[in-house]
């Protein structure tokens, strides 16, 4: 249980650093458009979580996808690519500074990685029972 507690503390720390980077990338230049990146990456795991219960029943194997599950995965990767592309495009059009773009991309990657790692860790914990 101690390892689980350490993992949770570490993940929350990384999540805080990610949000710090995103908010700094907005606040340092007082241009709050990169905050959309945080919103995007928070929404990103939602379609998979919603649609993963749609397709699979007890008789189908795990890797055999169905229509709704595929739709969830499609929307997930769409949102993730959006999260990475949005700051790049804003920087390309010189709406935000390149430094803000890099900071928000790193922050968004940290936030999304935290969510993924938390999901994986949680899944392992439930399988042990």
């Amino acid at each position: 249980m101690a390892a689980g507690l350490k993992t949770v503390i570490l993940l929350s720390f990384v999540l805080a650093v990610g949000f710090l980077l995103i908010i700094l990338s907005c606040a340092l230049w007082s241009n709050w458009l990169p905050l959309l990146v945080a919103l995007t990456f928070v929404v990103a795991p939602l379609p998979n979580a919603l649609f993963s219960h749609c397709g699979s029943d007890d008789f189908s194997t795990e890797n055999e996808g169905s229509g709704p599950v595929d739709l969830g995965r499609f929307i997930t990767s769409l949102i993730v690519v959006t999260g990475f592309a949005l700051p790049l495009i804003l920087a390309h059009a010189e709406v935000i500074k390149p430094a803000a773009c890099i900071m928000s991309i790193i922050g968004g990657g940290l936030v999304y990685g935290t969510i993924l790692a938390y999901t994986a860790a949680f899944k392992q914990d439930t399988e042990e029972f």
Partner: protein
Amino acid sequence: MSLPRSNYDPRRVCLNPCPNLNIHLGKHRRTVGVYVAGGLFALAHWIFLDAAILSSHWKPPPDAPYDSAPVHVHFVDWIPGILSTLGMLIVNLIDKDRIKGEDYGDSRAVWRARLFLFIGFAFMAGGLAGSVTVLVIKYIVKNYPEEFTYYGYANVSQNVALMLSAVILWIAQSGPSDYEYNLSI
């Protein structure tokens, strides 16, 4: 293994079966394919939106501050992307089992599936052709400098990426679940 005996089977959507694509990416082939297709879909639209945002945020160079941009991204540039997206939607809304000829329905349903498959592919090809048309007529013929012809190239790459995304999604979803299964569209 028995093939349909006649040279025309009315239950099949397409006469010629596709060659069996033996792409063995392991058991995660479907998952990876769907993820890649979604990423390409988003990438396509962001490439075009990049051009649109660049066009609307265009600033004159500092040595000639009163210049105006000779061309902007208008609704004409949006049409090929909309067509391609519609075509991709139509193609992917068709029931894959129906197309593979497993589900032996009545012949009218097969006829409808064939018709909508044709319409979907026609929309996608029309989008691609339209983007090339916009690139040539609106940008290349008029000899704009490179920063403006980029709008046209972005449009073409949007439609190419959309088509690639549809192809990858199709292959991922209709691949063989058994290895001796014949993939046929």
